[in-house]
Assembly symmetry: C2
Homo-oligomer: 351 residues x 2
Amino acid sequence: MSGRVLKLAATLMALSSNPAAEALFADSDPAATDVALAIHGGIAAERNEVSQEQARLIRAALEESLRAGRKRLAEENATSLDAVETAIRVLEDSPLFNAGKGAVFTYEGRNELDASIMEGKTKRAGAVAGVTIVKNPVSAARAVMEKSPHVLLIGRGAEVFAAKSGLEIVDPGYFWTLPRWKQIERRWRAAKSSPEKQSAVGPKPPAADGGRRQWGTVGAVSLDGKGNLAAGTSTGGTTAKMFGRVGDSPIIGAGTYADNEGCAVSCTGHGEYFIRFAVAHEINVLIKYKGLKVEDALEQVINRTLKDAGGDGGAIALDARGRYSSANNTDGMYRGWITRDGKVETRLWEN
Amino acid sequence: MSGRVLKLAATLMALSSNPAAEALFADSDPAATDVALAIHGGIAAERNEVSQEQARLIRAALEESLRAGRKRLAEENATSLDAVETAIRVLEDSPLFNAGKGAVFTYEGRNELDASIMEGKTKRAGAVAGVTIVKNPVSAARAVMEKSPHVLLIGRGAEVFAAKSGLEIVDPGYFWTLPRWKQIERRWRAAKSSPEKQSAVGPKPPAADGGRRQWGTVGAVSLDGKGNLAAGTSTGGTTAKMFGRVGDSPIIGAGTYADNEGCAVSCTGHGEYFIRFAVAHEINVLIKYKGLKVEDALEQVINRTLKDAGGDGGAIALDARGRYSSANNTDGMYRGWITRDGKVETRLWEN
């Protein structure tokens, strides 16, 4: 107990100099200000399923992503788009998150990846869905935005385009990881032992998987020195998703949106709900048209609209004045943010 | 001239009993009331490219779609969703429109079809993208909504699902039509004679095609007796689109949206812009949150936001009180609507 008291005392001291420290007592993230880059690593596994060592690794990966993104942002002429892409690539390359290496498997035992990116000034956007050989899907999304006349490319067309754009192509086996393979094996065993879990035309929604919420996805929002926002999201989707299933991550307006007059948003969760409620765009318009603060818009959409509908998930959002917040209606969401002067915060469960 | 005078006289007489007739003099469609079903058949070809006979056929097809949808709506327990699906299937089956049979070709000479559907009460939605063997993509979208845990299925996964759902599967050659083949041949010849028209990674946007606007798409919005809205959209995309390109039609929030508290919307146009501006959802929230009338929300998004950004296209929208309007920022849009008591109107160019 004495350790806890000491921590509380330290926190109270910190409060006098750092208003953001209030977050330690609050239900939601602080409405942090002066944030240059914020990221999420998806909905957290249940706390008792994650060892202290795993938690340490997740925090370290979030910090690495934040520092890499901020470093990029400090380069001459670098933009919030660069920071978002850089931060997401770090998370895609880490097997700890459900994006790039570490992606979950479809019901057919494949890794099908989706990603999107958008900039808030021009509202240019790019996205890819269902790619299986592109090492960093977020960079493919950016290439679609910058080098094609299109916004969304899917499947083999997206892969051919990524290869022609000079992006790194990998064998599908690159994305294989043991923990994810064990997840899909559990699903297969469950389906075999309980055939009624299979509907006539496909597997039941992943929520049926023993209550486990595997909505891991990664995303980033950033504000650069010119006052321009950007947002991006990347995912492997949901464990045992049907062949060809696409969630909200590559859908502009659902999983990702950026608008200098509103905010930059990246979402994670049960993607079908995020598409139906156009969550990213909804958060944006509540700020833009109804004058809500970032944290209030998040609260309304994530903790009321989505929660009432039964849609699990969360989102991070950042406005053009650097005001950041996050919300999730689950036990936890891996997330972090870094201010313009380099202060880093990470959170795993505490809301 | 005497014929025109007679028509004018008839119109003036009609005005006294039918306020909707004002539309003949207005810049926009009338804000028609008591509308049960409205449809569009995409952005019109230039007026001088369409013969009188072709125009007659297009009007006849629009009327057939409207009457089929309304007939379905009159059946016991039929919903606006049924009407939308029925109306769109008629347009998909007609080679006159860029959806189902009559779809345009990709740059690789294939037909890749996209569709979506949504109901306004539950905000349930379904969509397919990049399907090549499903006769009626809108019905596949509905099957995804009703028979899968997902909202969006793409490519072969969507095709397998449609087949397992019992939908009619056709040879890809079913979608081949001579006029569309001539269009893609023209694009190939143009690309061959002017290699600079090709960017490093793909064809230029279709707008480069001699200024021709080939944003044909079909869509429907409906209101049933229980006060529930539904919307749907189906398309072959844009001529010479890149392999794997997906536009706004299958994107909930971009090409299609339905919300009983706002409106049902279906869009057609340069899909990339409709995705970036989340057009269908934007129209919905302007009604829902800013209290705009249907026609004013359409006007603001289509004729201001999109037009200013350079995004060609249009949309139809219907609210839960049966108030319908449409807008487009091009020369024309094929469209029509039918009231609850069966009055049919069609328009091709006159805005």
